[in-house]
Subunit: 136 residues, 2 copies
DNA sequence: GAGCATGTGAGAACTGTTGTCGACTGCGGG
DNA sequence: CCCGCAGTCGACAACAGTTCTCACATGCTC
């Protein structure tokens, strides 16, 4: 049975005040800095539970770090600014259909997909953010 | 200046005989098992160089491990069997355009994207492979 | 409140990856 | 040829992110 703890509630609350994606370690550091007493392991367990509950969405950075964000329920993808981390949720029925069709054509079943778009947001571009190269 | 070494050549050759995606560690183990003497660091350096040369394509598993595969030059994506690792390269101009358009609509520039499709291939499905759940 | 399954957290362990550095070697110039 | 040396190798240590361990704490049910 899943129990209601101060820590779990607190981690969940952090994502109410946070835009974009954030790592477990970052959340832990923020909480500690704010005077919240919590262990790193607990933060990891909390974000994992929240992902399973559909409260958070997680993606992986190029560096291999898992980052998390409060997430709306319906299926969507992310448009992430490489410079500031700002994130837009985007939807595209076309893409969904394409992925399913292509998989079906190859005889694949039980199909899922991952899709993220990366770029430099208008604000960062204006501010002269550095551009990275990364083939998709 | 980039030098031609036995090790670099050997790593490159390994991917000629390998279908699907494979990790640096796996490649290292295979080479060692085949009597090839090579260091793990060297394998890492080699696959990284090969990715930069466009010889290999790399994606990241859910577990955060980088895996590599010999890759054709033109831009494409992958349809990967969760059970056996079998991989199909797929292309979709529709998706490319959709990603660019959506990013542009949000004022993003310098846009790239990552897109992978996962499923169970026909052979594995017939063989009764287990199905995983993984939201896209 | 008592009992106990569940959760916590400090620290150790693990995993994939990168850094270090003395030894080695492809390769262009002499 | 062989010299010189920048580029490379590889055993090993270091790192980063994540997970495990286990003694202790604490929600929940009764
Ligand atoms: Mn989708
Ligand atoms: Mn594409
Ligand atoms: Zn930005
Ligand atoms: Zn398969």
């Amino acid at each position: 049975m899943i129990r209601n703890t101060r820590q779990r509630t607190a981690v969940n609350a952090v994502f109410d005040e946070l835009e974009g994606f954030h790592s477990a370690q970052e959340v832990h550091a923020r909480m500690r800095a704010a005077g919240d007493s919590i262990g790193l392991s607990t933060v990891y367990r909390a974000v994992q539970a929240l992902v399973e509950d559909g409260e958070l969405d997680s993606i992986r950075t190029d560096a291999g770090e898992a980052i998390y964000r409060r997430c709306s329920a319906r299926h969507h993808h992310h448009l992430v600014c490489r410079a500031c981390g700002r994130t837009e949720e985007v939807e595209g029925p076309t893409v969904e259909r394409w992925a399913d069709r292509v998989a079906a054509e190859h005889g694949f079943v039980d199909v899922t997909h991952s899709l993220e778009i990366f770029g430099t947001c208008a604000a960062c571009h204006r501010a002269g953010a550095p551009s990275a190269d990364r083939p998709g």
